[in-house]
């Protein structure tokens, strides 16, 4: 049986206290926004809790919200407890001028490539990551393409020179 959102939220509040910024339940999925410093202690506590056992990291999604001044870049984690079939979504945000978020590789090996992907597209610096280099894009790319300031390429433009395909 899944644990109730209230119970998990209560545990989160107890564990990190001030580190909890806000919480909500969009579409019944408990979502907590935490301070970057509280991220690893919270996830460690959720993972090692004898009953909750959030031992599976389902997903990591980077996010760029230019309107949120001071916390433009974010990482959204989804954790899953297979013993009770409970999910929790954890968000954390950092300023775009210094996008440091602690690396989840301390708790989950699966975070390795997911964080590299997020770094690749958003430029979030996951501190403590063993090998934070680009993964899907070419190594010497000098921008982070999923940030909102980069528009999608206009497919009808003619002024582009592409030496490889002669377009």
């Amino acid at each position: 049986m899944p644990f109730s959102n209230e119970e998990i939220l209560h545990f989160v509040q107890e564990t990190i206290g001030e580190g909890l910024v806000q919480s909500s339940e969009p579409y019944d999925l408990l979502t907590v926004e935490v301070h970057p410093d509280a991220l690893l202690p919270l996830v460690g506590a959720l993972k090692n809790h004898p009953q909750y056992q959030f031992t599976f990291m389902t997903d990591l999604c980077g996010m760029h919200i230019p309107e949120q001044t001071g916390k433009e870049l974010g990482a959204v984690y989804i954790f899953h407890s297979w013993t009770s079939n409970t999910r929790i979504r954890v968000k954390t945000f950092a300023p775009i001028s210094q996008p440091d978020i602690p690396s989840m590789t301390a708790h989950f090996n699966s975070a390795n490539w997911m964080e590299r992907e997020t770094y690749d597209f958003f430029g979030i610096n996951f501190t403590g990551h063993p090998n934070l280099v680009r993964i899907l894009n070419v190594d010497d790319m000098d921008y982070f393409p999923l940030r909102k300031e980069y528009p999608l390429e206009d497919q009808v433009r003619r002024d582009k020179v592409d030496s490889m395909f002669g377009r």
Partner: protein, 410 residues
């Protein structure tokens, strides 16, 4: 952002630039990016001691197509073709997962009949996906005939896709709110025929492999993965279940009426290549069971929800009714705003939990859409698994993990 040339100054760490590596006479072997045994475009730079792999570095990104960026500039219905190209071996599952995500955001309930048709399409896709994986595993182990034999059945499945939606590989099947058309009598007939013919073929395939001494010697205890390691590396799907954990999204969080069907979740023991093969085999039988139940109990009723803002009206209404014409125009031009919200929805894909994390800010396109691609997450364990293995075994492990390049790179 000037034109980027591919430079070679960022060689991966394992590339032996130091003299010590040469002194130990390790050979660097590029497995891929274009090699028949990789079944897709991805590269493994392996350090070999003779025929044994000492270490490896996996490189991905050769067919990265920036789907998440494109999706931020497209109305919801135009994102479906992007999902086709994730795991192109089981495109309908991705399509349906995406439709269900949008329906969850919009609060649309799909009628039972459409849900059952979706289940049929998804289970057919699962069969096609597992069939490719298992037959190609056989092919990599040196048994070509099984592969050719079952591909005939895959063709039959693709013919059913054609009857349902008109296309074969990248299906773009279904719509937000239901299916684009009802199951035709021809489609039902073909599904029923498949349910009779396929088990005969698959039984023969199993007889060829399951207790075949040569095949067993090649795959048993090759590339085992423990429960803990599988969980730590984010395994889902058949690869996880082969390691002994019975997590299946269809059971854990049933969607599209999966709770109506009776089926078993096969589980392996030590997660080696043979277990992965056997789990997929058994899942094919279970999928057939589900299709049989769905086709027998196919409910009557509409095949799409009443959602005029998102579901295209009937073509004849578009020509004769003003309201239908307006909706048709607005949907096609992508001029309908979705409510703000964030949803995560996942379905059990061919390779594991295919998740869609959709953030809408109330606009016409997603503010952010992230695809959880199971392949991308579990493929990072491959270098670890291949350590100390013979090269020919590593090929089999890669094959049994069923890494699909389209799903790796998104």
């Amino acid at each position: 952002m000037e034109n980027q040339l591919i430079k070679n100054n960022n060689l991966p760490e394992a590339f032996p630039t130091d003299k010590e590596a040469f002194a130990n006479e390790l050979t660097t072997l590029n497995l891929g990016p274009s090699h028949p045994a990789t079944h897709g475009v991805f590269q493994n730079i392996l350090q070999m001691d003779g025929e044994r792999i000492v270490s490896g570095v996996s490189t991905v990104g050769y067919i990265h197509r920036a789907f998440e960026k494109i999706a931020e500039h497209r109305p919801f219905y135009q994102i479906t073709p992007l999902t086709d190209r994730l795991n192109y071996c089981s495109a309908p599952i991705n399509n349906m997962g995406w439709h269900m995500t949008v329906e969850k955001l919009l609060g649309i309930t799909v009628p039972k009949r459409a849900q059952y048709i979706r289940v049929i399409a998804m289970e057919l896709a699962r069969i096609a996906d597992h069939l490719i994986c298992n037959s190609i595993l056989g092919l990599d182990a040196g048994a070509f005939s099984g592969f050719l034999y079952v591909f005939q059945q895959r063709e039959k499945i693709y013919e059913i896709y054609e009857e349902i939606c008109g296309s074969r590989l990248t299906t773009n099947m279904g719509r937000v709110g239901g299916m684009e058309r009802d199951l035709s009598p021809a489609a039902i007939a073909k599904i029923k025929l498949l349910l009779v013919e396929f088990p005969i073929v698959w039984k023969e395939f199993e007889q060829l492999f399951n207790r075949n001494r040569i095949f067993m010697d090649r795959v048993i205890d090759v590339g085992p993965i423990s429960k803990e390691m599988a969980m730590d590396y984010g395994f889902t799907g058949p690869n996880l279940r082969a390691a002994g954990i019975d997590y299946d999204v269809r059971v854990a969080n049933p969607y599209s009426s999966y709770e109506d069907f009776q089926f078993d979740i096969p589980v392996g023991e030590n997660g080696d290549t043979y277990d992965r093969f056997m789990v997929r085999n058994e899942e094919i039988w279970q999928s057939l069971r589900i299709i049989q139940q769905a086709i027998d109990n196919l409910p009557e009723g509409p095949y799409h929800a009443d959602a005029p803002h998102f579901y295209l009206p009937e073509k004849q209404d578009v020509y004769t009714k003003m309201e239908a014409l307006i909706y048709h125009f607005k949907i096609i031009m992508g001029e309908i705003d979705a409510p703000a919200g964030e949803v995560y929805h996942s379905v059990e894909g061919g390779n594991g939990e295919v998740g869609y994390y959709l953030v809408s800010d109330g606009g016409r396109a997603p503010a952010r859409l992230h695809f959880r691609r199971p392949c991308f997450i579990y493929y990072q364990a491959y270098a670890e698994m291949a350590k100390g293995m013979m090269l020919s075994d590593a090929i089999l492990v890669l094959s049994s993990l069923n890494v699909i390049a389209g799903e790796l790179d998104a």
